[in-house]
Amino acid sequence: MIWDLWVGAIQNVMNPFTLLCIWSGVLLGVILGAVPGLNSTMGTALLIPFTFAMSPINGLALLTAVYCGGTYGGSISAILFNVPGAPEASATVFDGYEMAKKGQAAQALGYAVMCSCLGGLFSVIVMILVSPLLASVALTFSQPEYFALAVTALTLIASLGGRGMKKAAISGVFGLLMATVGIDPMTGDPRFTFGGKALIGGINFIPAIIGAFAVGEVLSRAESEVKKSEVLAQKVSTILPRVKDILRMKWLVLRSALIGTWIGILPGVGATTAAFVGYAEAVRWSKHPEKFGTGIPEGIAAPETANNAATGGAMVPLLTLGIPGSATTAVIIGGFLVHGLQPGPMLFMNQPKLMYSIFLSMLLANILMLFAGLGVAKVFSNFRKIRYSLLGPCIFIFAAIGSFGIRNDPVDLWIMFFFGVIGYFMKKYNYPIAPMIIGLVLGNLTEISLRRGLRMVDYDLSAFLFRPIAGVILGIAVVSILYSLLRKKPKILEED
């Protein structure tokens, strides 16, 4: 029976037009991901009307390919220009750009594309094998479990701490505080809006990230006098890692893939959180945590494996329960609906061949991503040959439009500017930027899951510990904080 389904899927997918759809989807996704301000969510949304004229399998293959490619693409500009092209690549900046500064951009790009491919393939295989089971476990996650998950991710601040722990904590708490700006999701009260409307929608973390990294960098360069002859680097061609290099970090890749797939399955937490948690765990488990942030391949492999693993993970609740696991999969639901298909358990029963065709097309998309990544990275790397006095202002304009394009709101430009200035001063006085971004990304999840969770257990925080899953996760968080405090301090928090 299952073989019949696979044979049917191969017949569906292995024809020139479907393969062309997958290839163009991946290529488009990588390009969209690499340009700040454009992302796979936007790309899939814009492509849905075009898929109307296609068969369901071609349309869905195109959309899922854009999704896979877009999640990887952000790492290209993160590595080359210190600007995450997509939020999923935010954690890749920490080590990616540092490697590029050391003249190892080609290797960094190679690790990014290879690990994205491996992460994506792993999650698709998991999706094929155990999607119904995983989805049912994920459904048992309630607010205390989400809170425990957020706390565990926040312990990254501690695991990256050490001597500069207080400054790292200030940075992280500041990020958490910034996440509270805007309407309180539980009571509807405006917070820190100072009577105006500008901040009522809250602080979007993408302009904040772009500001803290890209604008902060441009401002620093303005101060430090750009040399006329300065060229960032020579032409870069992606150098794929050797098999033995990947085998050397096999446990890191496997762990990140598992984390990414699992986080992808949880509704509401997507590839960005997966990348940060993947990075945090890589630091925690490393024998040399102090090297993270200085530009090491492990610092790229972990977030890139995790964020692409989240793509397959996020498809699990979509295909099995009809619940999107991320923003892009929510848009992909539209791709099903335009063809009169309702994703969910019934679709598995009524159209199993279509489901297996989607599995197969995602497998192919992740393999083709390797080639699309090599090509797009080569084109983007040419920009590094340009003098910074010419390139810097162009990066700034792309950063500004990238921030503006998220909500088409000029307020985001000012948020980017604010975080750019904050980022500049943080860098100057050795306040690490990474914890602030982690706080900002996880702030909403942490607060809401805590407040809702406490209401569920009649405001008794200790009740969280007696819930099996939440208790175990919180226990791991506490142990890991204590463990981290005894370890060496990573470079990322010293000079980030």
Partner: protein, 162 residues
């Protein structure tokens, strides 16, 4: 760095205190949730105040070891350039809503390139106008991002392109 550390810690402490006073205005909707809208921000702000005191104490300890005595108030050429760059960016964001993206951006780019030390006019002009047109094409035509068009006569001009 000592003075800088003390100044940043003081700014963080005072800023947190001001925001804490702001949270007192959030009270009143605990009927919907026992832990009201001010619960979490208050917790974070108290934490920030405590940590900023900790950083200041650390700075004093470092000072005893004789570390860092530089002045942070000196306005050298680099710092002046930093403030000019900040001014450029702020002015660009203000004027963007009035003049619009297409007319303002090339001139902003040229000015910023000059500030960063670029002097080759051909490159400055061609890249500035090229990037502006590329962004307009990609973002407005292909991706339907409504870039700022400005007001009045600038709005009419922008409409010619996007």
């Amino acid at each position: 760095m000592f003075k800088g550390e003390i100044i940043t810690s003081t700014i963080i402490f005072i800023g947190s205190l001001i925001l804490y006073l702001e949270t007192l205005k959030f009270e009143g909707h605990e009927v919907y949730a026992k832990l009201g809208p001010s619960y979490w921000p208050k917790f974070l702000l108290i934490l920030l105040m405590g940590l900023s005191v900790g950083v200041a104490v650390d700075a004093f300890r470092e000072r005893k070891k004789g570390e860092g005595k530089e002045s942070i108030l000196k306005l050298d050429k680099g710092r002046l350039k930093f403030f000019i760059a900040m001014g450029f960016i702020a002015l660009y964001f203000i004027l963007l809503q009035i003049i619009g993206f297409i007319l303002l951006t090339p001139f902003f780019l040229i000015a910023f390139m000059y500030l960063l030390g670029e002097r080759k006019k051909i490159w400055m002009i061609s890249i500035s106008f090229g990037i502006t047109l590329l962004i307009i094409y990609v973002f407005t035509k292909a991706m339907y991002v409504p870039l700022p068009r400005g007001i009045g006569i600038f709005l009419d001009f922008s409409h010619l392109f996007y």
